[in-house]
């Protein structure tokens, strides 16, 4: 992680001087993470790809404004968050709550693919804010402070969204992972 940050820092310095190849390298280091985050957030492959493209273009244009190159990851995901939610807002009429998707998954001892589908469905049942908190923490490994920076909200809000999401996921996934009754909170 430290090496990654050091290399990112070099690439950012070169990109700021107009080295396009350095920026292309930076894109190739981050595109998979950004794409997967957006894919889970907007739930559409083409949209996720288009938004990813937009994110990297905006990041390039705003690179001179990046104060601390060491925080490039959080800064990039802040742009991705803004672009992702901008798309979600355009998609639905104002004030309308996002729909819950998916159906509860039953059964245990699932194959990896089935488990992946179960997780996808469980994530789909969360609100966008809750899902995003899980994506940033569990899949992208950001610290609470970094998440607060990305989401422009206090750490307490980040924790509240994440903890609620984890409680919901715990319940939703319990049948899929064959958690014993005691772990599911059943007496």
């Amino acid at each position: 992680m430290i090496f990654r940050e050091a290399e990112d820092r070099d690439l950012i310095a070169k990109a700021r001087k107009g080295d396009v190849e350095a920026y292309n390298l930076l894109v190739s280091r981050w595109e998979k993470r950004v794409f997967n985050y957006l894919l889970r957030l907007v739930s559409n492959r083409e949209d996720a790809l288009d938004v990813s493209q937009e994110v990297f273009l905006k990041a390039y244009q705003s690179l001179p404004k990046l104060d601390d190159p060491q925080r490039f990851g959080a800064w990039l995901f802040r742009i991705a968050h803004n672009e992702g939610f901008s798309l979600l807002r355009r998609r639905r009429p104002e004030g309308e709550m996002p729909l819950e998707r998916g159906t509860p998954v039953r059964g245990s001892e699932l194959l990896p693919v089935e488990l992946s589908v179960a997780v996808e469905r469980a994530l789909g049942r969360l609100t966008e804010d809750q899902r995003e908190a899980v994506l940033l923490k569990v899949y992208q490994g950001f610290k609470f402070e970094e998440m607060a920076e990305i989401l422009s909200c206090p750490v307490s809000t980040v924790k509240s969204r994440l903890y609620t999401a984890l409680d919901l996921l715990k319940t939703a996934l319990a049948p899929s992972i064959g958690a014993p009754a005691i772990l599911r909170g059943e007496s």
Binding site: E31, F35, Y163, K170
Partner: protein, 150 residues
Amino acid sequence: MSCEKFDWKAYALGELTANERREAEAHSSTCEGCRGELAHMRLTIDTLSALREEEVPRRIAFVSDKVFEPRWWQTFMRPSFAAACVIAAAILAHGFMMRPAADSAEIQARVDQAVNKAVAEVEQRNEDAVNRVDRRVVSLYTTTTGIKYQ
């Protein structure tokens, strides 16, 4: 039922300090409720990692028309241009070294012809390559910005 004093979610997510971790671990070794809570949280987080990460369907293209314009010196640094120079130099050197003791106008003309032909071929290849790159850049620009390149 776990004890409220301990934040097992923060523990499982790696957000506790070393001291907090030690304190929590000491407690969980004596509290069945907290052990159960932590085990279930870890199981949930492990299960979430079953979600497959997807490959990016196609390379994220980054293009900026201004920065893609080669600088004047980059034109001379292109491999095709450099190759043309090397070939031309090699032909000239060959012609110079292999010439008979007595120069004849006919040999010189053949050398010139060979040089011109080689240079023309390389220049044509160079132009084709530049055109291919230009077409690619225009295509990426259009894809990226949605604006037709003028």
